[in-house]
């Protein structure tokens, strides 16, 4: 018995065997995404435009693309700001709503399973179609959203949602939250199932109320899930492209221009490949630092 225990202890102490489980997936990702990342970095330090795309010698220009973007390009600054606003707003709303729904559907009532399943449907629609349908619903005159608001007497005149520089951003955020809610809801709901029921039961016996249960049990035990959902949500939202492209193409007057749409526009509408790559890298670098902060927290947690 003692021999067994010792072996088990050894197994858990420091175990490089674990890496063999991880490597296949990691190598796969390095192969298929590592090359594009390097390709993109190199491209952003060159000067590849329409005229030089097919020539063999590509001029190396160092940080010139980045410098030009930061010093001469107002759209870049707008895009960075817009991207941050878009991401934070989307995350807050979709997370809170998703969390609330996950808790709500944890209750077992008659329609709970069916409704929760049906709420996944927004996820099955290709984003391009979602974008188009929201663009249509947000229309000024023919749009059904204005029609609702008017019927409810909330507004007296139609709002020009997508054609006004101040309302376009809220409208695209709304559409993205609609897509994001099921994602958050399901992931949190699955996370909730990892919390042992007995914990709630014993706490309830000790006289804890629902709010206390939530604060002392649900939140701390759900922390890893919440962290993963938020970091993934952040990364995915930060690079949302299709939805914006379809709904506003970054307009009106760049008021919904994000780093991702701007990068696409530079690369494939204006054929400034290196500039487009540089903008994508700016997006990449911001995400990289956000992830470092996330990892630092997780790591500290695990050390404890």
């Amino acid at each position: 018995m003692v021999i067994y225990m010792n072996r088990i202890k050894k197994l858990f102490k420091y175990d490089n065997v674990g890496i063999w489980f991880v490597l296949p997936a990691f190598i796969y990702m390095i192969v298929f995404v590592g090359y594009p990342i390097i390709y993109n970095f190199i491209l952003s330090f060159q000067d590849v435009t329409v005229k030089t795309l097919r020539s063999n010698v590509k001029e190396f220009v160092g940080f010139r693309n980045y410098l030009e973007l930061f010093t001469q390009d107002n759209v870049l600054r707008t895009s960075i700001w817009n991207t941050l606003v878009f991401t934070v707003m989307c995350l807050v709303f979709q997370f809170v709503i998703g969390f609330a729904l996950a808790l709500f559907f944890k209750n077992r009532f008659k329609s709970s399973k069916m409704v929760r399943g049906l709420l996944m449907i927004p996820w099955m629609i290709p984003v391009t179609i979602t974008g188009l349908i929201f663009k249509f619903m947000f229309g000024t005159d023919v749009g059904v959203i204005n029609y609702f608001l008017r019927s409810l007497n909330l507004i007296s005149e139609n709002i020009d949602w997508l054609t006004n520089t101040t309302t376009a951003m809220p409208a695209v955020i709304f559409a993205n939250v609609w897509i994001g809610v099921p994602f958050n809801m399901i992931l949190i709901a699955t996370g909730l199932t990892t919390i042992p029921k007995e914990l709630y039961e014993s706490a309830a016996i000790d006289g804890a109320n629902k709010f206390q249960l939530f604060r002392k049990i649900t939140l701390p035990l759900l922390k890893p899930t919440i962290e993963s959902v938020l970091i993934l949500g952040f990364i995915y939202t930060f690079k949302v492209y299709d939805l914006i492209y379809v709904m506003t193409s970054g307009g009106p007057v760049n008021s919904t221009q994000l780093l991702s749409t701007y990068s696409y526009k530079l690369s494939f509408d204006m054929f400034k490949y290196s500039k487009g790559a540089a903008v994508a890298n700016i997006l990449f670098i911001i995400l990289f630092f956000v992830s470092l902060v996330y990892l630092k927290n997780v790591y500290v947690e695990e050390e404890r």
Binding site: Y14, N16, L118, V142
Partner: protein
Amino acid sequence: MGIDGNLSKRKNILYCFISIMVLCIMLFPLYWILATSLKTEKEIFQIPPTFWPKELNLKSYMVQLESGDFNMFHSFGNSLIISFGAMIIAVILAVPASYGIAKYNFIGKRAIVLGFLVTQMLPVSVLLTPLFIMFKNMHLYNTFWSTILADATIGIPFSVLILKNYFAAIPKELEEAAYIDGCNKFTAFIRVLIPIAKPGVMVCAIFSFLYAWGDLAYGMTFILDQEKRPITAGIFNFMGQYGTKWSYLTAFAVVTIIPVTLIFIFMQKYIISGMTSGAVKG
């Protein structure tokens, strides 16, 4: 929240009511897609909008069956192949990886987790050209494989990060018991841990499938032949140079959503029961 369990009858009705309200709000855009698909192009642009078509127009659905090179059924099959392929790759690779990260301390673990995140940090648009060059050199251009391999790169990091929490939540004692029973690390993983983490694995499989199902950029870029393209590519038949054919487009959306929805409703029993049964016992 709190102790889930059976609710009083009145609460039950109230909750049902609330849930139906939530459903109506969340699924309204879907209803709008359906209603629009049954209207004539003229009625779609009517002011004020009509909530149910005045004259039922089924023409948009007929059109789905006769769109030139693009064959609805064929491309539906393509999408299934691509999505299942991507899902299988993602699950096979991500499940052991997440277990490894959750249960072992090895050198460079943190860097690897960061590595998985890093792969998700570039917008799709800038991945297209280098991936295209790569697939061309691998002779995978214009085959399903290019898209399957590319789509799996979305599902893997996602699944790893979600599943690692699952494995981490499984008490050590269970694993230890398995060793005492004579399992080695690998067999313990297969026989004991995976079954416990099944709801998480299911969710990851579903999301990997759906990521691939909704993908448009990869399928369009890496597959040139119409007859090999995924169903999402069909959207371009109605969204072209001179504008959007709303009635056709929405009918197309309805036709593409229904089969997936059916699959999910059919599988729901397994998915949801796995999710709610509180699989991990303390």
